[in-house]
């Protein structure tokens, strides 16, 4: 009996492979090196290589590997989002971990594995591969969240994230099972085929429930209401460098797989079934995230809730199920990577070892103590609010426009109202920094030190936020490449 050996087109997964190999190299180096920062820099090199590979593939024909994953424009553009996210997060970590004597090589290995998982989710064209990516990403994140073993909060964050994450994964897997039961396949295209209008399978209850369970799994990962409960606790408890990474990366990965599944398997006539659900989720997520953020007195926790709200804005771009919306989502994710990690980098600087220094009042008078830091934070806050001419403005504009074009102006209106609400808490940080004098306590706090890598992070994020705000065209052109192959 002849055995057919499948041809593996590994080129399709070349960027992921580069990241994984880097992670392995990092682990090996970790054993032999005493200065763990070198490990961090090696990771950056690996990410740079992955970026180069991604760019090399970009614009070329989409390569598929066994109908399991594909390197189409959509996946590649998202790769860049993940690479930017991971690189900025590593830069933040280099300084942050040093100060807390947490500089261990496995941090970077875990972060790289998690990044590979995210990239796999974006490339996956099979639900099983999506799930693999999801778990590769998540397991590494659970550990990272608990990375600060000296702090109870960090351990608690990791534990909560792990248990609730396992809960969500179970729902997701259940959904995959039901879909397989109904359609006989886990391949996205095959499922899409099964749903094509002439097959008469629309409205199949088994498949619909399967879809619902899938949505729950993703809603959990992107922190959409009502599955956001873990977010504030985990983001607040985790080391700030990890929060920066997962607030952007995990969200982007969740949206990456969600959008592909919806657009490939559940498009056309099926759209109406999930559109309403996601629209309701979007409204809830924006509103609850923003309103809860209003009440926070701690900036890190406030940004955790704000990250929930941003999931809502991005959902606004998903709901129309158009390519305009997809491009808007891609733009938003890249913009969010710069401004949100930038904001968390500022938090990382202000946070003392024992996790204090993140209160709103600790930012009082920052403009006189550290003018550059305050300026950077102000720009990130403005950008997160969506005030022109910063990149966040265009992100919001593009997702809201997708909703308007799809005759869902009401959704855009809700989004704009929510942006207005969010201005209150974002600007209150600016008010503290620029219009309040430092309290005695802050004045007595140890002097803030800006390590080299953090300065680089801030500078990169700041420049990107401003320059892409003044000149969004390059990013618009990049997202235009984000098509499904």
């Amino acid at each position: 009996m002849p055995i057919e050996i499948p041809t593996l087109n590994v080129i399709a997964l070349a960027p992921q492979i580069v990241v994984v190999v880097t992670a392995l190299v990092v682990m090996a180096l970790d054993i032999s090196l005493t200065d763990k920062r070198v490990v961090g820099y090696v990771s950056l090199l690996g990410l740079a290589a992955a970026a180069v590979v991604t760019f090399a593939l970009l614009g070329g024909p989409a390569q598929a590997i066994q109908q399991m994953a594909v390197s189409d424009g959509y996946a590649l553009v998202l790769n860049l989002v993940f690479i930017v996210t991971a690189a900025l997060a590593i830069l933040v970590a280099l300084g942050y971990l040093d100060e807390r004597e947490l500089q261990h090589g496995e941090y970077y290995a875990l972060l790289l594995f998690s990044t590979a998982g995210m990239m796999l989710m974006a490339a996956a064209t099979d639900l099983i591969v999506v799930f693999m990516g999801l778990e590769i990403m998540s397991v590494a994140l659970y550990i990272l969240a608990a990375f600060n073993h000296r702090q109870v909060g960090s351990g608690e964050a990791g534990m909560k994230y792990f248990i609730l994450g396992a809960f969500a994964s179970a729902f997701f897997l259940y959904g995959v099972a039901l879909l397989y039961g109904a359609t006989g396949s886990t391949n996205l295209h095959a499922i899409g085929e099964w749903f094509s209008p002439d097959r008469g399978n629309l409205g199949d209850p088994l498949a619909l429930v399967g879809l619902g369970l899938l949505l729950i799994g993703f809603a959990f990962k992107v922190a959409a209401v009502p599955f956001q409960w873990w977010t504030p606790d985990v983001y607040h408890g985790a080391p700030t460098s990890v929060t920066a990474f997962m607030s952007v990366g995990a969200k982007a990965a969740g949206f990456a797989a969600l959008v592909r599944i919806l657009m490939v398997s559940f498009d056309q006539a099926f759209t109406l079934d999930w559109q309403l659900v996601l629209a309701v989720l979007a409204v809830l997520t924006m509103t609850v995230g923003n309103i809860a953020a209003l009440a926070q007195k701690d900036v890190k926790r406030m940004l955790a809730y704000s990250s929930v709200a941003h999931a809502g804005y991005i959902l606004v771009g998903v709901v129309p199920a158009t390519m305009t919306g997809v491009k808007g989502v891609l733009f938003y994710l890249m913009a969010y990577a710069f401004m949100n990690i930038g904001a968390f980098a500022v938090i990382a600087v202000l946070e003392h070892r024992d996790a204090i220094g993140t209160a709103l009042s600790d930012y009082a008078g920052l403009s006189t103590r550290k003018p550059f830091l305050a300026l950077a934070m102000a720009v990130f806050m403005f950008s997160l609010t969506g005030i022109p001419p910063f990149v966040g403005f265009w992100g919001k504009l593009y997702v809201f426009r997708a909703a308007v074009e799809a005759n869902m102006s009401w959704l855009a209106v809700v989004g704009v109202i929510n942006s207005a609400i969010s201005a209150f808490y974002y600007l209150s940080v600016v008010v503290q920094m620029y219009m309040r004098t430092p309290t005695d306590e802050t004045a007595a706090a140890p002097a803030l030190r800006l390590s080299g890598p953090v300065v680089v992070t801030l500078a990169l994020a700041l420049v990107a936020t401003v320059v892409l705000g003044l000149w969004p065209t390059p990013l618009v052109n990049l997202t235009a490449l984000g098509i499904f192959g």
């Binding site: 534990m159 909560k160 248990i163 609730l164 809960f167 969500a168 729902f171 209850p205 619909l208 429930v209 879809l211 619902g212 369970l213 949505l215 729950i216 959990f220 009502p226 599955f227 409960w229 873990w230 504030p232 606790d233 079934d273 659900v277 609850v288 309103i291 809860a292 953020a293 209003l294 009440a295 926070q296 265009w394 504009l397 426009r401 609400i421 209150f424 003044l470 000149w471 969004p472 065209t473 618009v476």
Partner: protein, 668 residues
Amino acid sequence: MTQLIWLTIAFPIAGVLFNGLLGRRLGHRVVSVVGPLMVLASFVVGVGAFADLLARHGEAVNVPLWTWAAIGSFEVNLSLLVDPLSVLMVLVVTGVGFLIHVYATEYMVHKDESGHAHPDRDFARFFTFLNLFIASMLVLVLGNNYLMMYVGWELVGVCSYLLIGFWYDRPSEEQAPIDLGEGAEPVKLPPLLSPAASGMKAFIVNRVGDVGFALGVFLIWTTFGTLQFADVFSQVPHMAEAMPAVLSWIALLLFIGAMGKSAQIPLYVWLPDAMAGPTPVSALIHAATMVTAGVYMIVRSNVIYSHAPGVSMFVAVIGAVTALFAATIALVQVDLKRVLAYSTVSQLGYMFMAVGVGAYTAGMFHLTTHAFFKALLFLGAGSVMHALHDVIDIRRMGGLKNKMPVTWLTFWIGGLALAGFPLMSGFFSKDEILAKAFEASPVLWGIGVLTAGLTAFYTFRAIFIAFHGQPRDRHLYDHAHESGPAIRFALVVLAALALVGGVLGLPAFLGLPHALDSWLAPIYATGEHAAAAGEHGLSLGLELGLMATSATVAVLGIVVAYFFYVVNPAIPRRMARSLRPVFVLLANKYYVDELYNAVFVQPGLKLARGMAQGVDALLIDSVLVDGLARLVGQIGRQVSRLQTGYLRHYALATFIGVLILVGYFFLR
């Protein structure tokens, strides 16, 4: 150099960043080098572009920068237009701008009574703003579309505001009453606004015009579907037949913007008060460049205006009336800078009269020569102020020619040019305008000639009082001194330009080459050009007659001023006494400020206060804002309370969510 034209904007922006971020730390010497150097670099690039353009025979080139935003069909392309008109403006702005920057390096260093030099405490800030202004002005003139023009338009407005109020902590000043002698009651003068208030006034009055300009731009967009000059202008002839009314509205709305920016009736009131700014600012922004933006705009839009004859005539009439009106006020001003300010308003009126009657080249010609001689006069006035410790009241001057020969001589040259003395630059440009005006309507010409006489008179009134005769304030006179090399350099170069600037546009009817005419020819739509190129129907004799008239009037004005203020200084006082009501009216600037104050400002303030206290404080602030904020804050705290921190609660809440969501999919 054409493709590098963006460098003209980039250099001053680099100067802004450098002076703004590091200037204070590096000290005034470094700033003194970097500030002017950036403008000089711009000028060099401008000259390069000029040479290229010359070699291309004036063919326009678009230099695309980037697409700023694309939202649906609305695309904002940032692109620069290098054509004869924009290059002329670039040369004027950066050339005169450079000289004024050099001048300011000395002017902004104050000397105390004992001769010690103190750089202004905000020396770096001054040059930051000045560089920013150059960059903004270049955006205005180089943009190839109305959006960039609008952006530049607003940016120069901001710079103007920032620089008028540069000495924001200086108070308002009382003006001493004018003594008419022989026991007559002195004529009281209104106090001068403080720099901060002047800046605000300039900004707010300009906003009024800017609204018109913005509406004009909107109307262009809705009418033509584009804001690119070339695309708009190519559609104009067709649109002029299809909907002439819309075209007229566009022209009118844009002109309202020009009324504000270029200080024409009824929006001229801010310019005299803008003199509260440092003198280099008055010279650069409020005489040579920014205030001429309106003229530039109309010349740039000449295709629109030549298809809107009604509005064009309106422009000409406003220009003529403004010219005469402002000149009469200038007759009695005692503040040297204000004499020049009203003169600027008046000369801008000439330019609008020119572009209104379709003599676009003549308007640009006068714009250029005016930039030379009026900048020169302002800088001369500044030199005097510098010598007299900021005294600007001509009644305290006198005899300064002995103390400041260079300033005196250059001021004379500037004065002669402004007065339109034969063969000076101002003579040719003003004469060309008057000839074109005569062609359009002898009434306009009459107003123009009358204004020319008044101009010569008030200019030399100021010169004779300030520089000739006996010193009126011995102490000031004794401490007066000629200014240093930087100031003298700017004065001499500008004086040379004011002397020979006329060669740009020698009278064509005498068979002499009109350089500007052939240079600017490409910017006019074919067909229009013929009319603009000077093929007018006036006979040689008539042309010569008009020219002789303007020359005579100019000389006459100077001679009368000489009699009044040198030969027999008692005459003007006697006249003022016998014509007291007229004198008081002029000294109070026709009470226009008081009228605006009563009709617009006070009711506006009342309305604003009422809104603030009634509607805003009560309804919006306490009910809507505070109330809503309290409500939302409450909800937020409740929502946060749901966040118990207990894993079991989260799991339960998640599970409820799952039930609802799955239930929905199951039941539908």
